[in-house]
Amino acid sequence: MAEVLVYVDHVDGAVRKPTLELLTLARRIGEPVAVALGAGAEATAAVLAEHGAVKVLTADAPEFTEYLVVPKVDALQAAYDAVSPAAVLVPSSAEGKEIAARLAVRIGSGIITDATDLEAGDEGPVATQAAFAASFTTKSRVSKGTPVITVKPNSAPVEAAPAAGTVEALAVTFGALATGTKVTGRTPRESTGRPELTEAAIVVSGGRGVNGAENFHIIEALADSLGAAVGASRAAVDAGWYPHSNQVGQTGKSVSPQLYIASGISGAIQHRAGMQTSKTIVAINKDAEAPIFDLVDYGVVGDLFAVVPQLTEEIKARKG
């Protein structure tokens, strides 16, 4: 059976959920061979094996943290040369997409980004994507070279599928471009304790209707009652009520959770572009004519300052 390279996104050995979802998709088209780079790479092997990786290729070097992106491309290319896979799958993070893109150029392949599903086809893997603010669904494939495909979080279930997970050291030679962009400083983002926005199963977002930074705690309380991430519309971010890193939409982050709750968000096309692929959509808005209501599975026309706290209390009561 053909091998499929899966690029592992991990933090000091803790594998992030989108990578485990990639393993589910990789098993549909071949045998997953995982590539884990940087500090803690070997520590990823157990969980990767549990989810179907037949082999885990690991490498660590100071270059991975001291320089931007290219050293990781060199390593992924070394894995590609060693394995000759049928496809290369990478999580659709900002960095993941850049790594995939450069690899595709080097191996003369086409690239598909932000796939929301993947299946085996007669002419190689077929990727589902959302287009035009998710008003269209397309099915595409890579027609030249080895398919390089990046996949959005929440596109597949995480499934146990125990495999060998043999760990092998990957020999990497860094090219001249590897040290081109130096990382001269790094400030970790302060953890809120909430799930990462793009990966969260539930996202609770606030918009113009929240009417001030001081009111966002209402949105946060609802999010915390559900174990959700907090999002914000561009209007709320531009007004300085919530950080840009939480912006959902065309110029912010694209999310695809199981549940999306929009509070005080009218649903302009730019916002819809970032959330329309959510599985279940709920909205709370005073304006019954707000376009967001065209998208919802359940909508409440009402004042979010009354509805959201009541919802939060009810969730807490039900969860006991």
């Binding site: 931007l68 992106v69 491309v73 900002a94 960095e95 997409k97 850049e98 995939a100 893109a101 450069r102 595709a104 690239i111 980004t113 932000d114 077929v126 959302a130 287009a131 035009f132 269209f136 669904t137 397309t138 099915k139 595409s140 494939r141 890579v142 027609s143 471009l177 081109g180 962009t181 130096k182 001269t184 400083g185 790094r186 400030t187 983002r189 990462e196 840009h244 890193s245 110029t251 694209s254 199981q258 549940l259 096309i269 730019q270 959509i281 709920v282 019954a288 065209d294 919802v296 599975d297 359940y298 909508g299 409440v300 026309v301 009354a306 959201v308 009541q310 919802l311 939060t312 039900r318």
Partner: protein
């Protein structure tokens, strides 16, 4: 020595219009107005600011696209760019990101550059991979997704705000920079700028000017194939209730029914 800046911009269908695919599954450009991609305005703005700081700089704005794409170039020229290059060729129709990036890289090399600046993504395709691909093709450092950028003494520095950390980056010129919508509000063209733009040179190049063959680009030469594009079925009308004092509880009941609680 003059600092040569090339800004890559894209002419995109207005996102607020009713965007559709054509029969060959490429983007229908006839029924929706086009404009300079909003995210590219930030690239033009940063180029202008870098040029203002430099002793001597020249900004060339570059696009690949049909005749109408000149509108995007005019907008950038009216903001203050010095000249424009329009790569237009019938054989470019349907090019994917690999094809388009090949054309851009050839055009950038032909134009000559010290610094290439792009937006973080287009507002139509929204892939966000073109900057990295261009850096790879040009063989220069990528200094991408910057919310702050500065160029001084042949060095570009900037801040990249990622999901888990904020990074300070540094690279020597020549380099490729991409900027986010956090890099600084783009200026509006002034009346004077709009009038001046009419006199600024716009060069037109085709594939032969770039030593490219038609089968390397366009729909035929594309590295990817779209097999189908289906309009998402309209969502079956959801339940909408008016809050009469129990709206939060009713919503909780719905969420419990969907097993979210």
């Amino acid at each position: 020595m003059s600092l040569r800046i090339v800004v890559c911009v894209k002419y995109v269908p207005d996102a607020t219009g009713d965007r559709q695919f054509t029969e060959d599954l490429t983007v229908n450009r006839d029924d929706v107005d086009g404009l300079l991609s909003e995210l590219d305005e930030y690239a033009v703005e940063q180029a202008l600011q870098i040029a203002e700081e430099a002793d001597d700089a020249e900004i060339t704005v570059l696009t690949v696209g049909p005749e109408d794409a000149k509108d995007a170039l005019r907008k950038a020229l009216s903001m203050g760019a010095d000249k424009a290059i329009h790569v237009e060729d019938d054989d470019l129709h349907g090019s994917d990101v690999m094809g388009t990036s090949l054309v851009l890289a050839k055009a950038i090399e032909k134009a000559g550059y010290d610094l290439v600046i792009t937006g973080m993504a287009s507002t139509d395709g929204t892939m966000g991979v073109l900057p990295a691909i261009l850096a790879e093709r040009l063989g220069v450092p990528q200094v991408t997704l910057l919310s702050e950028v500065k160029v001084e003494d042949g060095t570009v520095t900037g801040r990249r705000d990622g999901d888990t950390a904020s990074e300070q980056l540094e690279a020597s010129l020549p380099a490729l920079v991409s900027v986010t919508d956090q890099s600084g509000e783009a200026r509006y063209p002034s009346f004077k700028g709009i009038m001046a733009a009419k006199k600024k040179p716009v060069e037109s190049w085709d594939l032969s000017d770039l030593d490219l063959e038609s089968d390397e680009v366009g729909l035929e030469g594309s590295w990817t194939a779209v097999d189908s594009a289906a309009q998402r079925p309209a969502r079956t009308a959801g339940t909408i209730v008016k809050d009469e004092g129990e709206g939060g509880k009713q919503l909780a009941e719905f969420l419990a029914g969907q097993k979210f609680i």
